[in-house]
């Protein structure tokens, strides 16, 4: 198998994993909504920080933590970098819109700070991950 084929395969796997991660993050927010245990100072609350931090890092560096050299360069070539920039831009807009939605919803019914922050972070990261995965699948 050539480096090109190997990078292509890894790129497809990365897109699939990102899609799955976005779905899991969104489901997490729905399931944990209103349960203060999941947003409190402790293992459960802390795991959210790790989860969001990890996916932010992966979105930032392309997820190529393991492969080095040529494969990594192929995985993160010009097109992938552009896709990632577009995905991050969408994530930013999603964060702003979700923050506004939480702000408005809070007028009718108070939302706990932890829940609101989880909605914003998960929504932004999920939107960016889905956008990136979709661009990588579509443009192949």
């Amino acid at each position: 198998m050539t480096d090109i084929e190997r990078a292509e395969r890894m790129g497809r796997a990365r897109a699939a994993i990102m899609t799955l991660a976005a779905i899991v993050l969104a489901i997490n927010v729905v399931i944990e909504y209103g349960d203060s245990e999941y947003a409190s100072a402790g293992p459960r609350g802390g795991s959210w920080i790790v989860l969001i931090g990890l996916w932010t890092l992966i979105l930032w560096n392309g997820g190529g933590l393991r492969p080095r050299g040529r494969i990594r360069a192929l995985l993160n070539d010009e097109l992938s970098l552009q896709n990632r920039a577009r995905a991050l831009a969408l994530g930013f807009y999603a964060a702003i819109l979700l923050a506004l939605a939480c702000y408005l919803a809070n007028w009718r019914q108070p939302i706990a700070t932890g829940d609101a922050l989880k909605i914003v972070t998960a929504g932004a990261i999920s939107a960016a991950l889905l956008r990136y995965a979709w661009l990588e699948w579509r443009l192949r």
Partner: protein, 69 residues
């Protein structure tokens, strides 16, 4: 009037009997990148355009040209 970017990459590549993967290998990008450049979906950087021209043995202007929409 707005101007677009046309390219003859597919034509020049097939003239040289290169596959997308072979050209990708020569310039150090993914096959997907070559495919999207050929389809006009992705506009490459100057660096990549110069690498493509070098790999195909022609001038950049032979691959890319401006068109009026």
């Amino acid at each position: 009037m707005p101007e677009g970017l046309a390219n003859r990459l597919r034509e020049l590549r097939t003239e040289r009997e290169l596959t997308q993967a072979a050209l990708a290998e020569l310039v150090g990008v993914s096959r997907k990148t070559i495919n999207t450049v050929e389809n006009g979906v992705f506009v490459p950087s100057t660096t990549l355009a110069l690498k493509l021209a070098r790999a195909l043995g022609c001038a950049v202007e032979a691959i890319f040209s401006l068109t009026q929409d």
